[in-house]
């Protein structure tokens, strides 16, 4: 390639003209690599606007809630005290794909960010199956506008306090507002608004249907469903089946459809929080892949720019320094260690896949017979499109990467006096380390598994949830505040039972009563 050409721009100052020319160049290169992207909308913003964007999780429009204010104060404080630099970029999964560039960035940073966000993340959003299935890039911004307006209206009509309380409760459960296995219906602001009245009316009748026949049982002597003797219930009114017939993992959905006392506007707000949680659901599961993919592409594209003489050595050196900082993985015993750096792990795996394709070793032939020696571009594309962190690591984490990062497995069992090293990066350990790392990224392991098992529609209307313990891990102390919020939404007693291999280990209940205290 001809390095004789003059660089597009040098130094650290930038202007819009330079950016456009770099972007044109990057777009051409991305095209060459067949990166499929949404159109880009690149917005140049100030530091303060970046902090705003941070506080609203990058949403260009968000509804108002104190927790975002808290977030903002935290970011501002950390930034002012110099504990934290702001991220150089923020990118939103929408169509067009919105990327923020901070005005303080140097020229190199702006180019890097464009390569990273506008071509890396952007193509990931468009290609990865989780994003394609769970989010709707076309309508997210419209939906956000709708949500903001709707919640503002509710605040006017029902008071800020009532709305805030409801949002608090919903936020506590938002990680349990996603259908994990079922493709959700797409969202559309327009239709949401159009069908809203209809839905309100319909939902209310549904709920009423469900609860209509329930007799108010007096006092605390309420028996649990199914526990009535046939003598007391000759007509068998209480002996119907369980409701819901199957355990429900989507708590917010269950609340929205079944909570007996919520007003229609409250159901609508539960729905909004649920929809937004669903929008973020893929991001929580693809951090390693998403960042790794973006790093892989900024690295590839920047090198191409240099090869073609569009940037000079100075800019390239600055880039390499910055790149090295981003993908740095401190060792577990380093004071800077803060878990595994998703940028480092993702970048390492993608680079390694490319290596396996181009120059497979004997080991690779053995471990990855299906990809060794294949064209790297399409192999990489397949890896990006069809996996989430959990499965991606399981599929592609190679012995070489494990050796490079010197990954090892520690088993922390409270029944054993010490921590035990379970496996290390050697022939016997590769598979165990890989399994463990993969599991570490599984949401079902990261978050407690909690499902609704019973709403006592024939009894005291209490809601029962089961927590299925994973490796005997109990719930943290936050459980009471959360079930209190759940109780606010449900309106009747809430029970939560921790189960370990079919054995009840702990019962939680809100409102707290003597009964539950005795048992715990």
């Amino acid at each position: 390639m001809s390095a004789s050409q003059k660089p597009i721009a040098t130094g650290s100052d930038w202007n819009f003209n330079d950016l456009e020319r770099f972007n044109d160049k990057l777009a051409a290169l991305a095209d060459e690599y067949r990166l499929n992207t949404y159109p880009n909308q690149i917005e140049v913003i100030t530091t303060e606007q970046m902090m705003d964007a941070y506080a609203s999780v990058g949403m260009p429009v968000g509804y108002h809630h104190w927790s975002f204010g808290k977030q903002f104060l935290a970011v501002e404080q950390a930034y002012k005290r110099g504990q934290m630099g702001l991220a150089y970029e923020l990118v939103i999964n929408s169509n067009p794909c919105i990327a923020y560039l901070m005005e303080e960035n140097t020229l190199m940073m702006q180019v890097l960010v464009m390569a990273h966000a506008c071509y890396g993340h952007n193509s990931f959003f468009k290609g990865n199956y989780l994003f394609r299935t769970w989010t709707d890039a076309e309508s997210i911004v419209d939906y956000l506008v709708f949500a903001r307006q709707y919640i503002a209206q509710c605040e006017e009509r029902h008071g800020v306090h009532a709305v805030e309380q409801l949002l608090d409760a919903c936020h506590a459960l938002q990680n349990y507002g996603v259908d994990r296995y079922k493709r959700p219906s797409p969202i559309s602001a327009e239709e949401e608004a159009k069908r809203q009245d209809e839905r309100e009316a319909y939902l209310q009748t549904q709920v009423n249907m469900l609860w209509r026949t329930i007799p108010e049982l007096p006092g605390n002597a309420t028996p649990l469903p199914g526990s009535l003797h046939s003598d007391d219930d000759p007509l068998g009114l209480h002996s119907g089946g369980n409701y819901p017939p199957e355990p429900q993992e989507n708590l917010l959905y269950f609340i929205e459809k079944n909570a007996p006392l919520l007003a229609p506007w409250q159901r609508e707000m539960v729905r909004i929080v649920r929809k937004l949680a669903q929008y973020f659901y893929p991001q929580r599961q693809t951090q390693v892949m998403n960042e790794g993919w973006a790093c892989f592409w900024h690295y590839t594209l920047m090198n191409r720019l240099y090869d073609e003489g569009d940037v000079d050595e100075g800019l390239m050196l600055e880039f390499l320094q910055s790149h090295a900082a981003v993908i740095n993985q401190p060792d577990f015993d380093s004071p800077y260690y803060n878990g595994i750096n998703p940028y480092a792990l993702g970048f390492a795996i993608f680079m390694d896949i490319k290596r396996i394709c181009e120059a497979p070793t004997e080991e690779d032939q053995q471990w990855f017979p299906d990809i060794a020696g294949t064209p790297w571009r399409s192999t990489l594309e397949f890896a990006m499109c069809n996996f989430k962190d959990e499965s991606f690591i399981q599929q592609y984490l190679s012995p070489k990467v494990m050796r490079d990062l010197k990954l090892f497995l520690i088993v922390d069992d409270d029944q054993v006096e010490t921590l035990v090293v379970g496996a290390i990066h050697n022939e016997q350990g590769y598979r165990r380390v890989r399994d463990a790392l993969s599991t570490q990224y599984a949401l079902s392991v990261k978050e407690p598994n909690i499902q609704v098992v019973e709403a006592a529609i024939r009894g005291d209307r209490s809601l029962t949830l089961h927590h299925i313990q994973d490796s005997r891990r109990p719930l943290g102390r936050s459980v009471y505040p959360v079930i209190r919020h759940l109780h606010e939404l449900w309106g009747f007693p809430v029970r939560l039972v921790s189960m370990d291999e079919g054995r009840v280990t702990h019962r939680y209940r809100w409102p707290v009563e003597e009964e539950s205290k005795d048992k715990s």
């Binding site: 506080a55 977030q71 803060n338 990062l405 409270d414 005997r472």
Partner: protein, 429 residues
């Protein structure tokens, strides 16, 4: 396809609403911190924000989480010496300290148990005054004392030696010397020329008598030139000053407070806010504001701010002792011609019955004529006592400059303050 948008000119403070919501929600916590700050800080030190800390557990947003315990596998990078089966002692002794998979729970990092942030100055003051809207503290045309200030106003021929303008005097002397020497020098030149002509003549034609005459003349003229003085009294110039009236830029604020046993710390905290507000107001108006703290029970004493607000005393109450002391301090240190005098008095209304008359007389005859303003607040939910009634008659004498109000709780302070100053501001316009 790419669009570039420059959003920098867009509205900032997008999070302002959320920030306010947050402050509103944690009002109680923040108020506690602010109250502590107010009690800790001096009255003169209110013009800055405050760092607020709230325990993280009070503001956390709960979600279901794994607690410590059970078994978990952790994959970590950077193995150096471990082999499978190695046993490692638990760090910190508790189960599962380093759970790497749980990062999503606290995004504040570092596991601080305090959530800290900074209130801006406005927010701080808002909390100090219980969320009541603060007045826009501007330079209002409050009538203030005229002070005579001497300004330089050209030069004059007489004055005291201390005000001599040396340059100007020397310049005058130089001019005078030139003027006085010029005719003599001219005559001298003519004489010298004549002498020269005479001496150049042939010896036969010379007139010795003329030469002698000329020489004498030259000598006389040279003496005259020397006699011109280097500097003369006429030359002296003095800076001249003229008197100009100017609004005085200094004020002194007397904080007078009853510290007898009946004043509780709560009363004092309310009083502190009252003094503070008055101080903020004066500070906007005057370049220099001095504070004098006078506290009294049966006897009055001038004290430091610290002692003023926080030391406890008991005993009866004689208000006139404080008024007398204020008067004395004014005579001694703050002459009324030079200082704008303000007195702010806070009390719970107790006084010896006999003393209230004395107070009234003291105020009407001695104090009020010197003062710009006298503000009295009575912090009590109860009925007024004799002091209030006597003060009412003072207020009748000086409706413009004497104000009195009753306060029950901290929230009443600002309305009272507005009430106190409203009339004055209108009248001054």
């Amino acid at each position: 396809m790419t669009y570039f948008i420059d959003r920098r000119p867009n509205a900032k403070h997008k999070s302002a609403v959320n920030r306010q919501r947050f402050l509103e929600r944690y009002r109680k916590h923040i108020k506690r911190s602010v109250e502590e700050a107010v009690n800790r800080r001096s009255i003169t030190d209110m013009e800055r924000g405050e760092k607020i800390s709230i325990p993280t557990k009070d503001i956390s947003e709960p979600v279901f989480q794994h607690g410590p315990g059970g078994a978990r596998n952790i994959v970590a990078p950077g193995n150096k010496e471990f082999l499978p089966g190695d046993k490692i002692r638990r760090p910190g002794g508790q189960g599962g300290g380093g759970g790497a998979g749980e990062g999503s729970a606290s995004n504040q990092g570092e596991g601080d148990d305090e959530f800290a942030f900074t209130l801006s100055r406005e927010e701080f003051l808002e909390f100090v005054f219980d969320g009541l809207e603060l007045p826009h503290l501007q330079r209002k045309p409050l009538k203030s004392l005229e002070e005579i200030k001497m300004v330089r106003a050209g030069l004059s021929r007489d004055g005291v030696p201390a005000r001599i303008s040396i340059t100007r005097s020397m310049r005058e002397a130089y001019a005078r010397r030139i003027a006085m020497r010029a005719p003599i020098k001219r005559a001298l030149k003519e004489a010298q020329q004549a002498l020269e002509d005479e001496e150049r003549k042939d010896t036969v034609l010379r007139n010795p008598a003329r030469i002698v005459e000329l020489k004498a003349e030259i000598e006389r003229l040279e003496k005259r030139i020397e006699a011109v003085p280097f500097i003369d009294t006429y030359d002296l110039r003095y800076h001249q000053l003229s008197a100009q009236p100017q609004p005085s830029s200094q004020a002194v604020m007397f904080c007078v407070m009853d510290v007898s046993g009946s004043m509780t710390q709560n009363h004092k905290d309310i009083a502190k806010r009252f003094f503070l507000l008055l101080y903020l107001f004066l500070e906007k108006h005057y370049e220099k504001v001095e504070l004098v703290f006078v506290r009294h029970h049966t006897a009055a004493r001038e004290v430091s701010e610290e002692e003023f607000f926080y030391s406890r005393e008991t005993g009866g109450t004689i208000v006139s002792s404080a008024l007398t002391l204020v008067n004395k301090i004014i005579q001694a240190r703050y002459p009324a011609e030079k200082w704008n005098l303000y007195v702010a008095q806070a009390s719970d209304g107790d006084n010896w019955d006999d003393d209230s008359n004395t107070c009234r007389d003291l105020l009407i005859k001695q104090l009020m004529p010197q003062l710009q303003y006298y503000a009295y607040v009575e912090i009590t939910p109860h009925d007024h006592q004799s002091l209030w009634h006597e003060y009412q008659s003072v207020a009748e004498h000086f409706p413009e400059r004497f104000a009195m109000q009753q306060i029950v709780g901290a929230g009443d302070i600002y309305p009272v303050f507005r009430e106190l100053f409203k009339r004055r501001l209108n009248q001054a316009r």
